[in-house]
C-alpha cells in the first residue's frame, strides 16, 4: 500500500496512537458469591483496532464486557478511558463515554418498531420521521439496509442484529463491543458484517470482538486477548497464529481430538418405515416416505439446511407429535409410532431437542428439577408414588456436571444462569448419563466452543460404541464427518439413503443438501 493512497484513519491511529489505549482495564476482579468470574483481568484496546476476546464458554468474557459496559460493577480493579480512570456505573454512562454494545442475546423490544427501538437507546430522542430518515441513511450507508417502520417481531435474526448495530452507530461510539455476533448469522450475512466492521475500524472506531470462530478471528482481528478460567492467559496477533495454536491457548492443553473407533454393529434398533407426516402448520414441512434403519453401535447423521423437515422428523422420532400409523416408527422391534415421549423413554430411548433453553431445559428451574423433567418416568425411582426424590436428582446433577465438566457458580443453579455451552453439555449429559439404547439428538453442539463440542461429540461416540443406536440431526458438516458412521440428507421433507461416511465427501453431501435428494431418488427409481 503506497504512502497516502490507501491509508486510512484506523491504520494511522493504530500506528501513531499506539501510546494511549482507548480503553484499558486493569486487574479487574468480579465475584459472584464464592465463584470468581474475573480474576485480575487486564485488557488494552487501541483506537481503530479490532480486538478479539477469546475464551471458552464460561471463561469470563461476557462478565468482562458487562463490566466495561456498566451492566456489572467490578469488586476490584480500575477502568481507564483514553488514559483517565473512570467509573462506569451504568450502561447510560458507558454510552455517554462512547462505548456501544451489540448483545449476544438481542436486547430489542419485539413489539416495537425499528425506529422506536433505536430512539430508546439515544438520549432525549423520539421516534420521529427525522430519526427514521437518519436510520435509513446510516443503515444504507453501511450496507445494513433497514426499514425503520417495521416491527422487530417481523425481522429475521440477521436483520435484528443490523438494528442493534445501527443503534450502536447512531450513538457515534468510539468502541463497539460485539458478543458473538456471527453465531446467529448465515455465512453470507457474516461476510457482510465483516465488511461493515472493517469499514468502521478504518474510520477509527475500535471493536472488541468476542467469538468462538477462530477462522474469522484470524481473518478479521488485529489483536487477541485470550481468557481461560477467569484469567487472561495470553495475548496474540491472530494473523501470526493458526486456528490450532489459538484453540490451544483457549483450552490450555492439546485440543481433545475426537476418537472414533470402528463400530461393532448390533441388532437393528431404530426403523422408520415409510414415515409420512402431513404438516398442518402453514410454516411446517411435510415428511414424505422416510425410510431409515439404524443398528446399535452406530451413529447415523441427518444433514440438511435448516427448515427442511428436521424439526418434524425429530418430533416424529421423539413422540412430541404422534405419527399416522403405529408401524411407521419402530424402536427395538416395537412399533412406537403412537406412543408418547415417556412411553418411548421407558423402552430405553432418550431425546435431546435443538433448542436447549426453553425446550431442552426450563430456564427458571434448577438443574435438579430439569433432571426430574426428563427422567421422572424412566423407572429410575426419581418419582415414586407421587413423590419426587430430589436427592437422587441432585446426585445425577453432580455426576453429569463432573463427567461433562459443566461449570456453574452454585451447586444447583437455575438452567438459565448457565452459559450456552455449559447448558448444552448438561442437556446432552443428562440423557447420555442414563445410558440409553436409542438416542435422538438435534444440533448437539450448536453455538458451543471447541472444547465443549469435543466433549459432547466424544460422549456420543462412546455411547454408540457401548451399544446404543444414535441419530444426530445436524447442520454442521464438520461435526457430521467427525462423528457419523453413515450420513443421510433431508431435503424438503424427503430423506436420502444413508450412506457410509467414508464413501462421501463434503461436496457430495453439500450437493444433496442443496436439494439433490429427491432428484437422486427419482433417478434411482
Amino acid at each position: 500500500m503506497g504512502e497516502g493512497t490507501g491509508d486510512n484513519i484506523g491504520d494511522m491511529l493504530r500506528r501513531v496512537g499506539g501510546d494511549t489505549p482507548l480503553l484499558e482495564v486493569r486487574r479487574v476482579v468480579k465475584r459472584f458469591g464464592s465463584f470468581t468470574a474475573n480474576d485480575e483481568v487486564s485488557l488494552r484496546v487501541m483506537p481503530g483496532e479490532i480486538h478479539a476476546l477469546l475464551g471458552e464458554n464460561g471463561a469470563g468474557k461476557s462478565t468482562l464486557v458487562k463490566i466495561i459496559y456498566g451492566s456489572l460493577q467490578p469488586n476490584a480493579g480500575e477502568i481507564l478511558w483514553k488514559g483517565k480512570p473512570v467509573t462506569v456505573a451504568s450502561p447510560a454512562e458507558a454510552r455517554a463515554l462512547g462505548v456501544g454494545m451489540v448483545f449476544q442475546h438481542f436486547s430489542l423490544f419485539e413489539a416495537m418498531t425499528v425506529a422506536e427501538n433505536i430512539a430508546l437507546a439515544l438520549p432525549n430522542c423520539k421516534a420521529t420521521r427525522e430519526l427514521s430518515d437518519t436510520i435509513a441513511r446510516v443503515s444504507t450507508n453501511y450496507g445494513l439496509p433497514l426499514d425503520p417502520n417495521s416491527h422487530i417481531a417481523d425481522l429475521s435474526v440477521g436483520e435484528r442484529q443490523r438494528v442493534e448495530i445501527v443503534r450502536c452507530l447512531l450513538q457515534n461510539p468510539e468502541l463497539i463491543i460485539m458478543d458473538e455476533p456471527t453465531s446467529v448469522l448465515t455465512p453470507q450475512e457474516a461476510d457482510q458484517l465483516f465488511v461493515t466492521l472493517r469499514r468502521l475500524a478504518s474510520e477509527g472506531c475500535a471493536i472488541l470482538y468476542i467469538s468462538h470462530r477462530l477462522e474469522e478471528v484470524r481473518a478479521l482481528c488485529h489483536h487477541a486477548t485470550i481468557m481461560r478460567r477467569a484469567k487472561v492467559v495470553a495475548e496474540a496477533d491472530p494473523a501470526n497464529e493458526t486456528v490450532n495454536t489459538l484453540a490451544q491457548l483457549m483450552v490450555g492443553n492439546e485440543i481433545i481430538r475426537v476418537i472414533r473407533e470402528k463400530r461393532k454393529l448390533g441388532p437393528e434398533a431404530i426403523l422408520l418405515k415409510g414415515l409420512t407426516q402431513i404438516s398442518l402448520d402453514a410454516f411446517g414441512v411435510t415428511l414424505r416416505d422416510i425410510n431409515l434403519s439404524v443398528r446399535t453401535g452406530e451413529i447415523v447423521a441427518i444433514a440438511g439446511i435448516a427448515g427442511n423437515g428436521q424439526k418434524e422428523l425429530f418430533d416424529a422420532l421423539s413422540g412430541e407429535e404422534p405419527v399416522e400409523k403405529e408401524g411407521m416408527v419402530i424402536f427395538a422391534g416395537e412399533a412406537v409410532g403412537l406412543m408418547d415421549i415417556n412411553e418411548r423413554r421407558l423402552l430405553g430411548a432418550a431425546f435431546v431437542p435443538e433448542e436447549r433453553l426453553g425446550h431442552g431445559a426450563v430456564p427458571a428451574l434448577k438443574l435438579s428439577e430439569n433432571v426430574v423433567l426428563t427422567r421422572h418416568g424412566t423407572g429410575e425411582g426419581i418419582a415414586r408414588r407421587g413423590f419426587t426424590r430430589f436427592g437422587k436428582a441432585g446426585r445425577i446433577v453432580e455426576k453429569v456436571t463432573s463427567l461433562f465438566d459443566v461449570r456453574k457458580g452454585v451447586i444447583d443453579p437455575e438452567a438459565r444462569s448457565l452459559s450456552g455451552g455449559n447448558l448444552q453439555k448438561f442437556v446432552v449429559g443428562r440423557e447420555v448419563e442414563r445410558a440409553p439404547k436409542i438416542l435422538i439428538v438435534a444440533q448437539p453442539t450448536w453455538g458451543v466452543d471447541a472444547g465443549a463440542a469435543a466433549v459432547i461429540r466424544q460422549s456420543l461416540i462412546d455411547l454408540s460404541r457401548n451399544g446404543a443406536a444414535i441419530v444426530v440431526i445436524s447442520q454442521d458438516l464438520d461435526e457430521i464427518f467427525e462423528i457419523a458412521d453413515r450420513i443421510a440428507v433431508i431435503s424438503r421433507g424427503q430423506l436420502s439413503k444413508a450412506e457410509d461416511a467414508d464413501t462421501l465427501t463434503t461436496e457430495k453431501v453439500g450437493l444433496l443438501m442443496a436439494g439433490g435428494a429427491e432428484e437422486k431418488g427419482a433417478a434411482a427409481a
Binding site: 451492566s71 460493577q73 451504568s90 450502561p91 436486547s107 413489539a111 437507546a121 423520539k126
Partner: protein, 304 residues
C-alpha cells in the same frame, strides 16, 4: 327518555373508564395490579369523608385520588421493592381495601353527602338533546375523556411513554439500556392508584352522594377486564366502558319494564365479553404480541 338513558349510561361508564385507564398504564409498564377494586373503594370512602368534612366535593375528588395513590404504594412496595408475587399481592390489596374502607367509613354510613356540581354554561347546557349530555356533566366525566386523550398521546407520542412501553415489553432489555425499571413501574402503579381512586370518588360523590360499605360492587374487576377487552389501547377502553355501562343501565330498564331476563346474566356479560375478546386476540399471534405487554405480571430483579 333517550336523553335520560344516555345520561345514566355516562354515570355508569365513568368510574369504569377512570379505573381502566389507570390500570392500562400500570399494565403497559408490566405490572398486573389486581387490587383495582381495593383502590377504588378506598378512593370512594376517602372522597366521601373529605367531602363531608370540608364541605367541598372538589376536595373530595382530590382526597379520593390521594387515597388511591397511598394504597397503590403499598402494592408497589410489596411487588416492586420486595419482589412479591403480583397476583397474590393484588388480590390481598383488594381484600385489604374492602376491609379498611368499611372500618374507616363506619361513622359515615347514612350521612348525607354533597353531589359534585355539574357544568352549567348558559345557552349551551340548555341546548336541546345534546346540551345536557355534552355540556352538563361534572368535572370527572370530562377528566375521564381527558385522561384517555392524555394517555393515548403519552404512550404513543412521548419519549417517556416509549420508555414505559419498553419496560413493559422487555424489562431486561430496558434495564440493559440503563432505564430504571422499578422507578418507571412505581410511577405507573401510582398513576393507576390515582385513577382508581378517582373512579371510587366518583361513586361516592357524583354517582350516589352516599357512603355504603363495599359500594364499588365489583366495578374494579370490570375495569380490570376492560383493560384486556381494550387490548391495552386507550380508545378501545372508552368503547368497552360505555358498552358495559350501557349493559348495566339497560339491565335496570329491562327489569323496570318487566322483561323477565335474569339480571345475573347481564351482570355476567362484561366478563363473558372479555373471555371472547381474549380468545379472539389469542388467535392472532401477531396482534397479541404487539398489544400485550410481554413482561406483564413478571417480577424484575436486576442482575448485580
Amino acid at each position: 327518555m333517550l336523553e335520560a338513558i344516555i345520561l345514566t349510561i355516562i354515570t355508569a361508564a365513568t368510574p369504569l373508564l377512570l379505573a381502566a385507564i389507570g390500570e392500562l398504564v400500570a399494565e403497559k409498564s408490566g405490572v398486573l395490579n389486581l387490587g383495582v377494586e381495593g383502590m377504588m373503594v378506598m378512593g370512594a370512602v376517602a372522597g366521601f369523608a373529605v367531602t363531608v368534612s370540608t364541605g367541598s366535593p372538589l376536595m373530595g375528588v382530590v382526597g379520593g385520588a390521594v387515597a388511591g395513590v397511598l394504597v397503590s404504594l403499598i402494592f408497589a412496595f410489596v411487588t416492586l421493592t420486595l419482589v412479591a408475587n403480583q397476583v397474590a399481592s393484588g388480590l390481598a390489596l383488594t381484600l385489604f381495601g374492602l376491609g379498611l374502607s368499611g372500618l374507616l367509613g363506619e361513622s359515615f354510613v347514612g350521612q348525607p353527602g354533597i353531589k359534585l356540581a355539574s357544568l352549567d354554561i348558559p345557552g349551551l347546557t340548555t341546548l336541546p338533546v345534546v346540551g345536557k349530555i355534552v355540556f352538563g356533566q361534572d368535572i370527572l366525566v370530562y377528566l375521564s375523556f381527558a385522561a384517555v386523550f392524555g394517555v393515548a398521546w403519552f404512550l404513543n407520542r412521548t419519549r417517556a411513554g416509549l420508555i414505559l412501553r419498553a419496560v413493559g415489553d422487555n424489562h431486561a432489555s430496558a434495564h440493559a439500556l440503563g432505564y430504571s425499571v422499578i422507578g418507571v413501574r412505581y410511577l405507573a402503579v401510582m398513576f393507576g392508584g390515582a385513577m382508581a381512586g378517582l373512579g371510587g370518588a366518583y361513586m361516592s360523590i357524583a354517582y350516589t352522594p352516599l357512603w355504603v360499605e363495599n359500594m364499588t360492587a365489583g366495578r374494579g374487576w370490570i375495569a380490570l377486564a376492560l383493560v384486556v377487552f381494550a387490548s391495552w389501547m386507550p380508545w378501545r377502553a372508552v368503547i368497552g366502558a360505555y358498552l358495559f355501562g350501557a349493559v348495566t343501565v339497560l339491565q335496570f330498564h329491562a327489569q323496570a319494564l318487566g322483561i323477565g331476563f335474569p339480571p345475573q346474566f347481564l351482570s355476567m356479560l362484561p366478563y363473558l365479553a372479555t373471555v371472547i375478546v381474549l380468545v379472539a386476540i389469542s388467535g392472532n399471534r401477531r396482534a397479541t404480541l404487539f398489544n400485550t405487554p410481554s413482561s406483564l405480571g413478571k417480577s424484575f430483579v436486576p442482575d448485580r
